[in-house]
């Protein structure tokens, strides 16, 4: 290619635009989410907890896996609890949302303990509790404006 200065300058500009888009793209990965989305994710964790309890109860999934999964889930739930923007929620859900998230965190810890103890009865109860909590979270999400 010819090496005229104009061409080089144009190439430089091209590179800068390109870098800009890559940065935007990378930054987008850490973009913020809306409260209904966050509640949906919490709801999915409640459902996962329920499923893990049921499957662990009959020995379908490994113990280490179940514990790891619950641990990872708790981390996600706590992250949601700190990141959620309460001011974007309707007034009657503002108190209920942090409470439900805290209960989910506790339930997941409890389930992990049941797994560690190998307590089949407790796991059944945990599954039922997770089911109920999932319903609560769904109701809250509807209130917050999710479909």
């Amino acid at each position: 290619m010819p090496t005229h200065t104009a061409a080089v300058r144009q190439k430089d500009r091209g590179r800068r635009t390109w870098l800009f888009w890559v940065t935007v793209w990378l930054a987008a990965g850490c973009g913020s989410k809306t409260p209904p989305k966050q509640l949906e994710s919490a709801e999915s964790w409640a459902a996962t907890t329920r499923e893990l309890a049921i499957q662990r109860r009959v020995g379908s999934v490994g113990r280490a896996y179940t514990e790891d999964m619950l641990e990872a889930g708790r981390r996600d739930v706590r992250e949601i609890a700190t990141a959620i923007d309460l001011s974007k929620l309707p007034p009657d859900a503002r108190a209920a949302v942090p409470l439900a998230l805290a209960r989910l965190d506790t339930l997941m810890r409890q389930t992990a303990e049941s797994v560690r103890r190998g307590d089949v009865v407790a796991l059944g109860l945990d599954a039922a509790a997770a089911d109920a909590l999932g319903d609560t979270l769904r109701a809250l999400r509807t209130k917050a404006g999710g479909e």
């Binding site: 290619m1 010819p2 090496t3 005229h4």
Partner: protein, 138 residues
């Protein structure tokens, strides 16, 4: 042969070629040589978008598309005989005659020769493209 100077094809490629009046002819895309007495001697230079397409072996489809998209403007290429190509400044190749005196590269000549199509095994044939009848001054 008083002086011998070198010029690099890969850097020449894609350079804008102007004619004697400074009118842009196009970008340099291909150099045609001929084996003459054990030496590869340059005969002509092909300039312009069409020449680029020819180099890429664009085929019927490419030629059709090019005509469709760019019309006459894109569908041009010029043959510059070595005698009128001035490469004294390799970054700014110059043609020593006006653009209108250059022969156009294109379909008219293409159809003049019949092209052997589709050799059964190109690998066996050594793969040399048999296109000697395309746009050549022989």
């Amino acid at each position: 042969m008083a002086s011998v100077r070198e010029c690099r094809v890969e850097l020449l490629l894609g350079c804008r070629v102007v004619d004697v009046d400074g009118v842009v002819v196009g970008r340099l895309e291909e150099i045609v040589a001929e084996l003459d007495d054990d030496e590869y001697v340059v005969r002509e230079f092909h300039v312009g978008v069409f020449a680029a397409f020819e180099r890429l072996g664009g085929g019927m489809l490419g030629r059709g598309l090019l005509r469709l998209v760019g019309g006459k403007r894109l569908y041009t290429g010029y043959v510059v005989p070595w005698k009128v190509m001035d490469l004294s400044d390799p970054e700014r190749p110059r043609v020593t005659v006006p653009k209108r005196e250059l022969r156009e590269l294109g379909e008219t000549q293409r159809s003049a020769g019949t092209m052997p199509r589709g050799q059964p095994s190109l690998r066996a044939a050594g793969g040399h493209r048999q296109s000697a009848n395309e746009n050549t001054v022989s």
